[in-house]
Amino acid sequence: MDEKTIKIKVEQVTKIFGKNTKQALQQLSNGKSKQEILQNTGCTVGVNQASFEVRTGEIFVIMGLSGSGKSTLVRLLNRLIDPTSGKVLIDDQDVVKMSKEKLRQVRRKKISMVFQKFALLPHFTILENTAFGLEIQGMSKEERQKTAMEALHLVGLKGFENQFPDQLSGGMQQRVGLARALANDPDILLMDEAFSALDPLIRKDMQDELLELQSSVEKTIVFITHDLDEALRIGDRIALMKDGNIVQIGTPEEILMNPSNQYVERFVEDVDLSKVLTAHHVMKRAETVQIEKGPRVALQLMRELGISSIYAVDKQKKLLGVVSAVDARKALETQQSLHQIITTDLSTVSPDTLLTDLFDKVSEATIPVAVIDDQKRLKGILIKGAVIGALAGNEKHINVWNEKQDVNNDKPKVVIK
């Protein structure tokens, strides 16, 4: 991840609304609070010295409650709102210092935006709406309609091109919004609460589709939302905002597991952990026996550890089956090898299975469910008690993984408070 290039670099960007912006800016740098500045100068601090970087190809979520300045912040990126101070570098070019003409070119070619309330033109057909950005650029009618049709195809709206926006449902209208943004083939997509106006089921579909789309088009996406679940679902990294300040930036996991302050902590405490945590987070170290070692070793291990069954693996840690103590003892008597007695009919899950999707398997299993990667190597096991503990937010049962750690080699590090 480190080699990835930086697409957008925001340095100390501040937006102050009001008349005495100079005075307010001065007070802000002197460390006065938003409230004090409002009282002293009558100015509202929209965004306070925000700095962050967005890497090429990632989905960067800016999340916060209404009034936190997130919508202002995203508009500073394409200068729909002019920053009071600071730098916004897109591909190392400062948007803030650009001439109007240059800025227009950037808006036409590099950045597209998707709006909360769709912002489609009611007097244009779906096709004309999709081609709007291209029309503005002066592309010929034939060419822009062809490109727009491709974009509509991409969002699954083929066949609707001659309808008008008010004939479409909200979800479909937002697909048009997305198609319009994609038609320009920009590097960057700014999505301002793009799915917030949609009902929950449609919203989830759209999130899935965005992720799917992203894997094929690979844009750099800045996504604004007030919905933490949405942020966790789609964000590669999340910036949390409060009162115009960015309070924490991190991966969904970092935000959830290591809230940097009380505000973030309170924000994340209501999160449905079962939809965030994966098998990877809650699995425990699996006790295994190498299959070549035979039933005697297996039995010995089980006795030492006080367990009634053990997973059998080969030298590459590939999961082969499970042996119970009873079977092992029988094998010992009848001189059978482990190969002959292991149960291979196992219920397994992959490390990135969400908790919500593995409850069923865990509850029905008589032995701990095995977590295996795509090479069938045993990564860990799921113990009922630990799963429930993790769900309750008990950090003892949640493994935190360092971004740089190689999942395949390192054992999960259990965080103990």
């Binding site: 394409n78 729909l80 227009r104 070119q105 950037v106 808006r107 036409r108 950045i111 597209s112 935006m113 709006f115 909360q116 309330k117 912002a119 489609l120 033109l121 009611p122 007097h123 709007f132 950005g133 029309e135 503005i136 650029q137 319009r180 320009n184 700014l190």
Partner: protein, 277 residues
């Protein structure tokens, strides 16, 4: 109070201003007179050249195009009544004055409205002037109009323009400013120039409101016909005015009814054009 502060000689100043304008801008007023007179007379000549029944059929067809058969029926019967009562030529003269006044209102009003919608300062200057134009009794600006344009059709047209232009301007401003801000943002975000934003987004979306303004302008111009007839503008107004001075109720009613019919026809047809998708 009156002893402490002498009365402002406002009336005197206004009189002097009017005289000064009349003398120094004679060329300006004369050319306007020539143009407007030519325009109205040309329009009257054109409309009277077309046989009455054919014109009725044409207007009826227009009504049918924009609306349903009911308006068409009303239009045809109404116009036939005017024809039958013998006010056809007067009706044409009135129509010509109204259309001229509204045409001028549109070509001045819409650009001014667009300008005012883009620049706050312009709006702040224009709004009180519009208030003044609408609330100052029409008779009052009829007086200088006679000085500037003599007696006849021109002062009638000019006063109709002054009285009828405000709704077009106001509703153009309103229509453009009512375009949802996120749609404006979208057009900006995709890199529109100001004129692209105006032509592709703001004006099309403001159109129904602007048409409502034009409709109001037509109605106000029609309401000026009797007043305009007092300075010598020909048409149905003249008939009404004559009936009033000679106390002839019947004739007054006939001419008045003709005005009502024209008003309803123009109102409904322009309304339908405005709301049509």
């Amino acid at each position: 109070m009156n002893d402490l502060i002498p009365k402002l000689p406002l009336a005197k100043y206004i009189d002097e201003l009017v005289v000064w304008l009349t003398i120094n801008f004679e060329w300006f007023f004369d050319s306007i007179t020539t143009i407007l007179e030519g325009f109205v007379e040309g329009l009257v000549a054109l409309l009277t050249f077309i046989p009455a029944l054919l014109l009725i059929a044409m207007i009826g067809f227009l009504a049918w195009k924009v609306s349903k058969w009911r308006l068409t029926l009303f239009t045809v019967i109404g116009l036939l009544i005017i024809y039958n009562l013998g006010y056809w030529v007067e009706m044409i003269e009135t129509l010509a004055i109204v259309l001229t006044a509204v045409f001028i209102s549109i070509i001045i009003g819409i650009p001014l409205g667009i300008w005012a919608s883009q620049k706050k300062v312009v709006k702040q200057i224009v709004t009180p002037i519009l208030d003044f134009m609408q609330t100052m009794p029409a008779f009052v600006y009829l007086i200088p109009a006679i000085f500037f344009f003599n007696i006849g059709v021109v002062p009638g047209v000019v006063s109709s323009v002054i009285f009828s232009m405000p709704p077009t301007i106001r509703l153009t401003i309103l229509g453009i400013q009512q375009v949802p801000s996120d749609i404006i943002e979208a057009s900006e975000a995709f890199g529109s120039t100001t004129s692209q934003r105006l032509l592709k987004v703001q004006l099309p979306l403001a159109m129904p409101t602007i048409m409502a303004g034009i409709n109001q302008s037509i109605m106000l111009a029609l309401s000026m016909v009797v007043i305009a007839s007092m300075v010598g503008a020909p048409g149905l107004g003249t008939e009404v005015y004559r009936a009033v001075t000679q106390i002839k109720t019947g004739i007054g009613f006939e001419a008045g009814l003709s005005i009502v019919i024209i008003a309803i026809v123009l109102d409904r047809i322009t309304q339908k054009i405005g709301t049509k998708k």
